[in-house]
């Protein structure tokens, strides 16, 4: 990855009058963390990075930014937002366009072909986080760590994030400008996470998810980190009517997670943010991916590939599966 090229491109974009800021990543404050980073001027691009730690999906910030009341007599800031996207992130942008969550003309998309990200928790098992940030880069198919002053090559298989093992679209599907050469997509791994759950008996599955959902502290990070969970007034926060009580217990947590997963059916672009941010380690991605499999295999649909696609849950085909109906 040519960081200079990226910074140069970014500098050009943020210098434009019609661009408010560019959302990218910068080095984190310790260990393996990379932080979302809002670049407002050309000077700021020096801190921009794109490394195997830039796993987070920045598209979430497109809708996370609050729309404050515009004082009377003033105009809302109509400048564009520039965004760095990997393949998966770009699908979120497409899906947001499908749902009119954002407008294309308010967006500058910088595509970054993505060779795959690391799951730092896998790395930390062997190389614990250090106070000083660890530099990581790609080396061929593998990852190169600069760890306590030492260069260490970590084989791809040892640290590649699960979502990247399953990835079908490493190259951005929408962008105004692309930095870097397209990567050769790799054969997506079989989704063993989902398969393992499916292989269980019904009571075993229940027991599995009972343990998982019981851990939930309802911090809503899964919802907030999701680029496609952006209702300004989420029904799961609402009191009239109350769909899910605020109380934290297995019953409400389960209802919460079912609603969250269901609302993403046919919309989830499998960026894995929900699972990554969960402080309780609930494998939320499995729920989304299970439905994504169904949508892909039984309906032949994959969200986020086409900004003009019909929204899946707001469309139907006469020949949709109905073998389950009496």
């Amino acid at each position: 990855m040519d960081l200079n090229k990226l910074r140069e491109t970014a500098a050009g974009i943020v210098s434009r009058d019609d661009v408010k800021y560019l959302i990218g990543w910068r080095r984190g404050t310790f260990g393996y963390r990379a932080a979302p980073y809002f670049v407002e001027d050309a000077a700021g691009v020096e801190e921009l990075i794109f490394s195997p730690l830039c796993i987070s999906n920045l598209a979430a910030y497109l809708t996370l930014v609050e729309k404050l009341p515009v004082p009377r007599g003033q105009e809302p800031d109509q400048r564009k937002v520039a965004l760095l996207v990997k393949g998966c992130d770009s699908r979120a942008v497409n899906q947001l366009l499908v749902e009119k969550g954002i407008k294309r003309d308010q967006l500058v998309v910088v595509g970054l072909p993505c060779p795959g990200m690391v799951d730092w928790k896998l790395l930390a098992e062997k190389y614990p986080e250090t106070e000083a940030p660890v530099e990581i880069s790609w080396k061929g198919d593998d990852f190169l760590l600069l760890y306590n002053g030492q260069e260490i090559v970590v084989p791809r298989a040892e640290a590649l994030a699960e979502k990247c093992r399953l990835c079908r679209h490493p190259n951005p599907l929408i962008s105004d400008v692309t930095v870097g050469e397209p990567v050769q997509p790799w054969a997506p791994a079989e989704d063993s996470g989902v398969a393992e759950v499916e292989a269980k008996s019904t009571p075993e599955r229940w027991a599995y998810w009972e343990e998982q959902f019981s851990k939930c502290i309802r911090c809503y990070s899964c919802r907030n980190a999701c680029p496609l969970c952006y209702c300004e007034d989420c029904i799961l926060d609402r009191l009239d009517p109350t769909w899910v009580n605020r109380a934290v217990n297995f019953s409400e947590n389960t209802a919460f997670h079912l609603a969250r997963a269901f609302h993403l059916a046919g919309r989830c672009i499998e960026c894995g943010e929900c699972e990554r941010v969960c402080p309780a380690g609930i494998p939320l991605g499995k729920l989304n991916r299970k439905l994504a499999h169904t949508v892909r295999e039984e309906y032949g649909f994959e969200p986020g590939l086409d900004p003009e696609a019909e929204p899946f849950q707001a469309s139907y085909k006469p020949e949709d599966p109905e073998e389950f109906i009496l």
């Binding site: 963390r33 932080a35 996370l64 614990p128 851990k215 911090c219 809503y220 934290v248 380690g281």
Partner: protein
Amino acid sequence: MSAMLLHKDKWSEFTGRLSGKNLWAPSLQGGIKKFAPVGEGDAVQLDAENTAVPPKALLFPQTETLFRFSEGQEDLEFPGLDEPVILLGVRPCDARAMAIVEKLFRWDYEDPYYLKRRELTTLIGLACNEPGLNCFCPSVGGGPASTEGLDILMVDLGESYLLEGLTGKGKALLEECKDLLEEAGADALQQKEQLVQEAASKIRRSVDPEGIPEALPGLWEDPLWQRVSAACLGCGICTYLCPTCYCFDIQDELEGAVGRRCRMWDSCMFEEYTKHTSGHNPRPTRRERTRNRINHKYSYFVDKFGVIACVGCGRCSNLCPVNIDLIDILRQVKAAP
């Protein structure tokens, strides 16, 4: 009885005996570490890492029924709170946090639920020999073997645990178990001192809070708040998992004609936290909310109670998925003009 030794070969007998007294200890629950009840015969294993969910959840449950009601009936049903609890393996920072939070719950109104639970709880602390990456307790007045809030402090000496009764409650508990204990000698106490010093030296991160409470009001409109909050997801991780955060909401839950009034954790990082019925929100963005979180801990609480409402446990920095790092923020506060 002051300092006692519990040899590790008596550990299971010790925990077994306590397990009959509603004992809770850290345990891995589906991959997340938190306090869980110890059943009879359950092994209790204490390791270096602190729980992700702080033990505040036992004194201040995430969801707590205040009372139950039926529509059309005047009588309310209150939950009985009378069972003593023993928490084993509480870290000094988390115990300090309870002492800090108690100030709030004793303040203008004595909260019966919290205080009753506090009274019923015996805290057996475990000094930290191996502090975590983001631990910075000494910076905010604690330490790896701080005793504040604890009834018993326990130090892992390798072959045995050193147990110091700190309160009447703690001493009485040790007394009950004295057949399993032996008097600690000077060497044990010396070993403890050495371990604690070693632990303190292993703490890698620090920030000097000197001047922060005074500086914060002047930084109200400083651009740093925009900078440090831009990446914030507005989730509840940092506050829910903070041992000194105590905000709650009270809601009624109904099913048909029966219901309960309960209180549950709330978070100042949530948008609805300060949202008025009118729709107006005095803390309209994550900037104001982040600013509030820091001000609350490092300024308002200090003003009211004379102590920083942060114990340096590092959870917020560890668990924030977008690397919003408290120590980094505090450093920026100090560096601000």
